[in-house]
């Protein structure tokens, strides 16, 4: 019942928004400046039909998955090492603290010089954007693991890699998942900028391309696609979180 009511409220709000937009578009009277929602829907349909929408979305998503996967495979182990060992922390802390505040986006010009225009540039920028939230979140999560849990497992003779796998990782998992969601959000923000400046394909490229063609309805269709995919990836991660950690309910960043 509550769900049905919620859906109704949702539809009502979005209907009012669409109506207001429609009215405003009539008032403005320029399909270049503010196309009506119907025109944008039509643009969605057309770019869906000619495959542009899904093709570019697929490219951006693929880059996201690649970049985040590489970031996770490097950052999580490093974070665990930094969380557990003073020596690792000492070795990497300064480097991390120096590089972290430099936004991934600020690497775009240098990366253009190194990689040129293509897929490697956005993947690198997204990797960089995802890496630091993951390292820092993982290290903090591991350091905050209740010392009594470590001591308790030591008294049971559980040490070394086994302890990392069965005590440290599960205990730090909530923090790691939160940082994973932050990392994906940061990556997703970076992809638009990176593709907009330095890639021949992808959602960011598409909105800039259609802007230069003055095809505002299509620009809006692609912007909406960015929002939808951003929402869906986060929803997917939240679902994953719930499956991985049935014991930790509703942890928000």
């Amino acid at each position: 019942m509550a769900r049905v009511g919620g859906l109704l409220v949702y539809l009502r709000t979005m209907a009012i928004f669409a109506l207001a937009w429609y009215g405003l578009s009539l008032l403005v009277g320029s399909r270049l400046l503010l196309p009506s929602p119907l025109l944008v829907l039509d643009a969605v349909r057309q770019s869906a039909l000619d495959g542009e929408l899904l093709r570019n979305a697929g490219i951006s998503l693929l880059r996201l998955v690649l970049a985040v996967a590489v970031a996770a495979l490097t950052a999580i182990p490093l974070g665990i090492a930094m969380g557990l060992s003073r020596a690792w922390r000492d070795a990497f802390d300064l480097l991390v603290e120096m590089l972290r505040p430099v936004a991934g986006i600020a690497w775009i010009p240098l990366a253009l010089f190194i990689f040129g225009i293509g897929s490697r540039l956005p993947i690198f920028i997204m990797f960089y954007s995802a890496f630091f939230p993951l390292v820092i979140g993982t290290a903090a999560g591991v350091r905050n693991v209740d010392a009594r849990l470590l001591a308790a497992s030591a008294t049971m003779g559980v040490t070394g890699v086994t302890r990392i796998r069965h005590v440290v990782l599960p205990a730090a998992l909530p923090a790691i998942m939160v940082s994973l969601r932050l990392a994906v959000a940061a990556s997703w923000t970076a992809v638009v900028a990176a593709e907009l400046v330095g890639a021949p394909s992808g959602l960011g490229y598409a909105i800039e391309y259609y802007r230069s063609m003055l095809a505002t309805p299509t620009v809006m269709a692609f912007i909406a696609m960015i929002g939808v995919l951003g929402f869906l990836t986060d929803a997917g991660l939240r679902a994953l979180e719930a499956r991985l950690m049935p014991w930790a309910k509703d942890i928000r960043p």
Partner: protein
Amino acid sequence: MRTLRQLALPLALIVLWEILVALSGSPRAPRPSTTALKAVEMLADGTLLAALATSLGRVFGGFVLATLLAVPLGLAMGTLPVVERNLDPLVESFRPIAAIAILPLVILWIGTGNLAAVTIVAYAAFFPILINTIAGVKRIDRSLIRAARTMGISPLTRLRTVVLPAALPSILVGMRIGLGIAWTAIIAAELAVGAKAGTSGGIGQMMFVFYAYSIQLSGIVVCMAAVGLVAMLLDRGLRALLARAFPWSHP
């Protein structure tokens, strides 16, 4: 001894970088030595600080605007379930759209001047502040509200004297996140405008100009370092300011 261990890796990487670029023989590639010289030059002729000032001015303008819009709206959404229920769909629809994605529309509607920049920044900072304000209001210890009610304090006064201060720590977290995102957004916007739509000024465009027109790219690295330094200073500065202004929020 410990300091040495901490410095070892960054220093080794810097040395490696210098050697690698020297071996490659590329005249454009930046290296630590040329970067240091370039930094001195850019500081001396004032171009770096001028570009930073332009970008920072935009960030502050947009950030203040975002705060002025998001905090009252967040208070309303947090206290009044009707408002929240009805506006939540819109917030959740726009929140996943990164500020840089709406850049083409902003250029179309407002152009590429300061107002456009402030708009991008405000959009970027708005959602973190809003979300954290709502969460802060909802997490308020109910008994504080009840205590105020038993003293006969009116709803509007309660909003000012209980709800706002009780939600403040969370609002401030939102403002810190928002400021960080705003700084990233302005660089992205300046960079994108600089690359695609003409001139924008600011540190972001400066970086792109170095890429596009320069035979020597160490200026880009100077800009990157400046971007990182400013991000760190903004975060530390805001944190210190808030700790001084709200001593009770640090148990």
